[in-house]
Amino acid sequence: MVSYAYVVPLLPLFAFGLQSLFGRALGRATAWVGIACLAASTAVSLAVLAEVLRGAEAAVSWPWLSLGGATFSMGVRVGPLEAAMIAMVTFVSLMVEVYSVGYMAGDAKFNRFFAIVNLFVGAMLVVVLADNFLLLFAGWEIMGLASYLLIGHWYHDLANARAATKSFLVTRLGDIGLLIGIFVCYQAAGTLDFAVIDAGAASWAPGVATLAALLIFAGAVGKSAQVPLHVWLPDAMAGPTPVSALIHAATMVAAGVFLVARTYPVFEASGTALAVVAVVGGVTAFLAATVGTVQADIKKMLAYSTISQLGYMMLGLGVFGYAAALFHLLSHAFFKALLFLGSGSVIHAARGEQDMHRMGGLFRKLPLTGLTFIVGGLALAGIPPFAGYFSKDEVLLTAWENERWLFWLGAATAGITGFYIARGIYLTFFGRPRDAELYTHAHESPPVMAVPLVVLAVFAAFFGWLGSASLGRLVQAFLALPGEAEPEAAWYAAASTIALAAAGVVAGGLLYGAARPELRAHLVRVLRPVYVLFREKWYFDHLALGATGLGLAASAFVGWFDRTVVDGLVNAVAWFTGVLGQASRRLAVGDAQAYMLTMAGAVLVGLAALLGLGVSRP
């Protein structure tokens, strides 16, 4: 089975082809064509995973292009990293797609949605399985296209169109770094194949490895929404909610973390690059969590939590916690997909309302959604024994061993995370209903949406056990690089993260559940500067706006310059020639022959000049 892994991406891509060509004829069945193909793909992925767990590996490749004396081949390779990723990606995406049948039921562009979801998943699987940089980059960009199309799904509204454009452009900024990084690797390794690059990276000149790694990381920063290229992700909420679940969990943002893992030997060859990864990750985790504390929109809150959690993963990779980071990637995929689908269920019930301040008390109306959302929230907050606890703990313990201040930054972030998710849960599900009409009409979602929630909740609750010390740290052992050491179980470090996370949850719960609103208002007054800083998202959006303004100003200048100066010069030359012509008219007799003669003369003069030059410079 493992050597047939290439059908894993082909199945959803095949579905995309069917769906886009025959969408009209298929009608509502379009969704089920996609789901059937994705289910088959999931089955193959699980079979592959089962074999890889028993030690199988595979690499299959075909010659594709022979150019300029070099041969470029296309293929897939499957090891533990790929097997785990494809299993997670197909499974979570399948849940999202099933859920979408309910969520998108009334949408006018139902078919378009399902076709692009399959394209999205297929592209992600290409990224995961690609055995060379070119194929990876191709999948990477197609994923960018799919997310652009889905974020702009409701393109009638120009705000959504703008969000789509923004997401494409911001991620492309990172992609350009990746592209140049690929050039550097090709020059150093003489090929685009990962097998050769991985094997050789350690012997590259340190400068080359650093340059390559940092450029590749730029791509990861864009895709995985790390500071400062994270600005596109909160806007990506413009798409339908299941899209958010897809982007934030199984695909897209996971790809950036995966990319660093995929090219890890290049990063390992350069200490500088790893340090940069760690710092960017840690800072991102912290900044995004702080912004998450002041969001009113349930999806925006989750978006900032994604950025923050991705920061943890980068932090882990940066401090040599390869297996820890990937473990967190997997567990995050389950609980974040769950949280987003849960928020979708809430929004669905609230007929499109996303402002948590207008919700409240919804637990009584949406018990299943509420329960699963709380499971997801506890996993996110890192409360044992939920999934997020084990994986985040692993990342932080690695940081403790390698870079103490990053550990404290991460631990503080854990506290903030507990706070904002407790706040979000409380505002949404508990307290008294703040909008009577919204509350009265709220209803639980249909089974097609509920089943994925339950399945994902099971994973969010129990997946972490697989990585726990009591079960022999199965996940990490499976994913670990040869020779990778497991972090020492520093109980005081682990205890402080749990304590901080719990404190955060309790503080959030108390402040929003028990305290009087006046206390909150008072706190906001006292902490005004900090509050504003969070509210304004540390002013990164202003930066993005400024860059856009600069670009537009430059383009306006070039437009003017071209018309006025460059073309002006051309016309000035023409005018001057015309004046000369008028002046010389007296010399000319006015018949065609004379002009021909003049022209021939001019040519001859030019020729003579050239010949003269030739003679004078032998």
Binding site: L65, G68, A556, L610
Partner: protein
């Protein structure tokens, strides 16, 4: 003598001659006849491609006859893989432009006569292996284009037509000087291109430099190389749709082809000295073209400036002179041919319906005309270099091949991809997304004829994006020969 190339090149001219005897009023017959004639080069080139032996170096499908032996001028048509792929592109685009010309309803007979003559000129340039013949075809291209813009154009058409012909005429006079000087200075007593290219390389560096400059300027205007590009937006905007298609898809390739075929291999020393400047001009074209495109409100001008942007990649590829980079550059010529033809055809589809090309005056096309919007989106994404579409392959290999030679230039050019994405996405946001204007309700979808012109191009763009080997096998070998002449890696 296979005669294949002679048939391909002269069938349109013969058709033009025959067209003169058709009564001007029989518009449908004229269109059908012209289209049939345009199909002949397509068939001939396809036949030639079938005969072509791809593993063998050198010129094939040779049609050669003595013409003016005392001056060493011969009738000499032949092709290698580079010419062959450009002949195929030109034949295809010519046919599609002809089909796209059915909307022309003024002086129809004259129009098709001129269009057919243009096609003979274009195919002749790519097939000619004698420099005198090359020059004749080169000049033959200018005059029909002048009429197409000046008579069947719109807006300031006389101004644009005269600007086009003066600018390119001055350039080709420089080239003529270069051709004559090359002939006399080498004493080759032959105008055959292979002879002259071989002899040119033997000239002293100082002379090579001046000759190179003459040829370069001759070709640069056509490419167009920044800052010799300002005729292009004017000519494009005021030309009728099929004229813009021919101009962007085929005529711009003549300049790049001339550089690759003559200016670089004939004067390798000068080319070497000039290479960095060429790369620099290329990257300026990329950045400048993208910014200028972004500044436009007129959709057609945006597309026109995007040509300046894309031809910049060709220059970088040629300047770097590594096999991968030059392969990428040739691929870009083909890819840009298909993509720009698509874009200009789509501009025609829209402006025919809305009576304007101002992007603030129509929008919501995904809703209004989903099929047309899809074609436009495919073309725009190909234009911004999305993988699995042809433009990506071209730009990726051009930059990959040029990276070791000019890392800084490549880095800036890659940065330009952000701007390219920017103006394309912004354009799509403005015209494809949003809600349609009420005044546009009931706008008809694309007609079958319009679909027939777009669909082959879209298929080509996707096919080349997935299986570039479909054409790289044609030109990879001759590209490596030229690179070897240039002493590249």
């Amino acid at each position: 003598m296979t005669g294949v190339l002679t048939v391909a090149v002269f069938a349109p001219a013969a058709g033009a001659l025959a067209l003169l005897f058709l009564p001007a009023g029989r518009v449908r017959a004229i269109r059908a006849f012209a289209t049939a004639v345009m199909a002949v080069p397509v068939a001939a080139v396809a036949f030639g491609a079938a005969l072509f032996r791809y593993g063998e170096p050198g010129l094939q499908l040779v049609d050669r006859a003595t013409w003016i032996p005392s001056l060493g001028i011969s009738y000499f048509l032949a092709t290698d893989g580079i010419s062959l792929v450009l002949l195929a592109l030109s034949a295809l685009v010519g046919l599609l432009a002809c089909i796209a010309s059915y909307g022309i309803d003024e002086r129809v007979k004259e129009y098709f006569v001129v269009l057919l003559l243009l096609q003979t000129g274009v195919l002749g340039v790519f097939a000619a292996q004698d420099l005198v013949l090359f020059y004749l075809f080169w000049e033959l291209v200018l005059v029909p284009m002048y009429f197409i813009i000046g008579i069947w154009g719109h807006g300031r058409k006389e101004y644009s037509a005269i600007k086009f012909i003066l600018y390119t005429m001055v350039a080709s006079l420089l080239m003529l000087v270069g051709i004559l000087a090359l002939y006399f200075l080498t004493g080759a007593h032959s105008f055959a291109l292979p002879d002259l290219v071989r002899a040119g390389a033997g000239l002293p560096a100082g002379i090579q430099w001046w000759l190179f400059l003459a040829f370069f300027l001759g070709f640069a205007v056509k490419v167009p190389v920044w800052p010799f590009h300002t005729w292009l937006p004017d000519a494009h905007v005021d030309a009728p749709t099929p004229g813009s298609v021919m101009l962007a898809a085929v005529l711009l390739k003549l300049g790049a082809y001339g550089l690759l075929r003559i200016a670089l291999p004939a004067f390798p020393e000068a080319a070497h000295r000039f290479a960095f400047t060429l790369a620099l001009l290329g990257v300026i074209g990329i950045i400048y073209g993208a910014f200028a495109a972004m500044a436009q409100r007129d959709l057609k001008k945006l597309v026109a400036y995007s040509s300046v942007n894309h031809m910049g990649f060709v220059l970088i590829g040629l300047a770097a002179a590594t096999p991968l980079a030059v392969d990428g550059a040739v691929f870009q010529m083909v890819s840009h041919g298909l993509v720009s033809a698509m874009l200009f055809l789509m501009v025609g589809v829209f402006s025919d319906r809305f009576g304007t090309r101002d992007m603030t005056r129509f929008r919501g096309l995904y809703t209004l005309m989903p099929l047309a919007a899809t074609f436009m989106a495919i073309a725009s994404f190909a234009n911004l270099g999305l993988p699995f579409l042809s433009g990506f392959i071209a730009e990726f290999y051009t930059l990959l091949g040029a990276w070791p030679v000019y890392p800084t230039v490549v880095a800036v050019a890659a940065g330009g991809l952000l701007l390219t994405a920017g103006f394309n996405l912004w354009m799509m946001q403005r015209i494809l997304m949003g809600a349609p204007l009420p005044s546009q309700a009931g706008t008809p979808e694309m007609t079958p004829r319009e679909i027939a012109t777009l669909a082959p191009l879209a298929v080509g763009v996707m096919l080349l994006g997935v299986l570039p080997a479909a054409v790289t096998g044609w030109f990879d070998l001759p590209v490596r020969e030229i690179v070897a002449r240039l002493g590249g890696m």
